[in-house]
Symmetry: C2
Subunit: 329 residues, 2 copies
């Protein structure tokens, strides 16, 4: 062991969301330039803020800044939660609006009501990928909007941001065929919410990973079966398992626990694990995780916003060359 006066050599690489977002934003800019050279109007995102959650307000501010820096119009609409449904429906029918984002939770004591609001957004403007059709396609590992290929289905922003991060970190192995690039990887996702952790576990398993999905109710395993022979993931309860059982097995550990008090037990991490935090709180103790991890990504928000713009361009692209946007909700 080094004594207390010897600085420990750095062996953990800290990668900031900004670095990864920059690459994605460059791709977005290129696509936008190409679309605008063919006559596409400046894309407009309508953002509905109907709560006073400080994380939502901060995310809205970042989104506005990123939109405006990258040639997108960002229209923040602060509305009363009782008028939200009407306002969304009006945006669904407004041809000037290309995509709609809503900051959740709106009804924290009634999650099904939030779900109802998600479904109010027109599929063709659902930039967050939270409408039932988008989510179901993701769970079923279907990449196009049936029966209308080649219109692509959208993936929810935070899970897709984490996929993009794992691609950047070369955890996705591009030597393997598309769709199987996580085969051989074991990943723990601590959070199984309907908007983040559960879709993320499904996405990673659909790409070939063995995923331990952890929340306070227990552990589930998401896989495509031995040898990833199944076309999409299946879920099994791991009776009696706890996060402590998953950490030592995992190449990648992804924390998304929305609590200041929660910390991943870094003693249990595999030496050289890759650690990613998507909670607005720090799920990993910084100095401790850097003693164990090979790569640590302390936050993902900026990648999420880059992915949001990427999704918005996909919505616009899905409308070309056929017709004007329709409301399908």
């Amino acid at each position: 062991m080094a004594d207390s006066t010897t600085p420990v050599p750095k062996t953990c690489k800290v990668i900031l969301a900004e670095t990864i977002a920059k690459n994605l934003l460059a791709e977005v800019k290129e696509s936008l330039d190409s679309m605008q050279s063919k006559g596409t109007q400046q894309p407009q995102l309508a953002a509905f803020l109907a709560n006073d959650d400080p994380a939502a307000v901060k995310y809205a501010e970042w989104s506005k800044k990123t939109c405006e820096e990258n040639g997108f119009k960002f229209d923040l609409r602060v509305v009363n939660k009782d008028l939200l449904e009407d306002e969304i429906m009006s945006a669904n029918h407004d041809p000037a609006v290309d995509g709609i984002i809503v900051y959740y939770p709106i009804f924290p004591n009634n999650p099904t009501h939030d779900k109802y609001i998600q479904e109010t957004v027109a599929l063709s403007k659902d930039v967050e990928g939270l409408c039932h059709t988008h989510l179901q396609n993701m769970y079923y590992n279907v990449r196009f909007l049936d029966p209308r290929p080649p219109q692509k289905s959208l993936l929810p922003c935070t899970p897709l941001a984490i996929v993009k991060i794992l691609e950047y970190l070369q955890i996705y192995n591009s030597i393997l065929p598309y769709g199987n690039r996580l085969f051989g990887k074991t990943i723990t996702v601590i959070n199984r919410s309907e908007v983040n952790g559960r879709p993320l576990a499904a996405l990673l398993a659909n790409d070939g990973a063995t995923v331990y999905s952890v929340d306070i109710t227990g552990v589930q395993i998401f896989t495509r079966g031995q040898g990833i022979k199944q076309p999409r993931h299946q879920v099994l309860d791991k009776e009696g398992w706890r996060v402590e059982d998953c950490l030592p097995l995992s190449d990648v550990v992804i924390g998304g626990v929305p609590s200041d008090g929660y910390k991943v037990n870094t003693d249990l991490l595999r030496d050289g694990a890759v650690c990613i935090n998507f909670s607005s709180f720090r799920n990993f103790d910084g100095p401790a995780v850097k003693e164990k991890a090979s790569i640590y990504v302390p936050s993902v928000g900026k990648v999420t916003i880059a992915v949001l713009l990427r999704n918005l361009l996909r919505l616009i692209d899905n409308r070309q060359p056929n017709e004007a946007p329709k409301s399908e909700s």
Copy 2:
């Protein structure tokens, strides 16, 4: 389970040595062109065959073909084993010879005699990286010929070929700093010979991996310590461990057992493991390994020859721009 009439979908990618060798040979060709444009003569490899091992004869034939296809001169010298030492010393002093390769084993019942022959080859012509100085630098994770940087030390061909294969397969993660790119990976090497398995285990551990080195006498673990804080690997015996204990823990399994009867127990492989065979026999049962592995590399010989030519250019480069070759053995 699929029934016997349903073909099982392919999920294992088989990568042939030829594919990887092609990339390396293109780099070699580019370096050679650049060196020849500055006046370097056509490189000549002197190859000494003093046994009648069919694997050695085959390797010599392949080497000749690859040399000639890529602009190198290959001079096969079939010699009596009692005259070998004199012949090598004469080649050490011949300015027309740039590199020397000897096909082992020469004295199968006296391995120290083979070791003596390896040391007879001049360091400046040791294209196989088997001279003591080259080997010691490798074990000590020293990349230059001290005290003469920037002359680079050479690595033994088969271990280096496997490093190049692992780079191609993206097991080396280029996001991480050079020298730490295997941090987080667990690798089993089945073979601990002095020319192949032991140097390979050391090389991989020096690059950050946790390596289980297996032979019939037992299992050793090669690592740079927790958090890869040590500058080079250390070796510990894993008392009571067998290959069966290592396989389920390993991201990569490398077989080098020179026996037709030996097969890795594929039932114990981690789902999605990467499997590489460097034995001249098949250490993995083809159909069985393809049911479990994400990537399977059935042989490495063509990569080894490409690496041999790469080493030869490095020897020539090490002589530039200072002086003519010296014999240091």
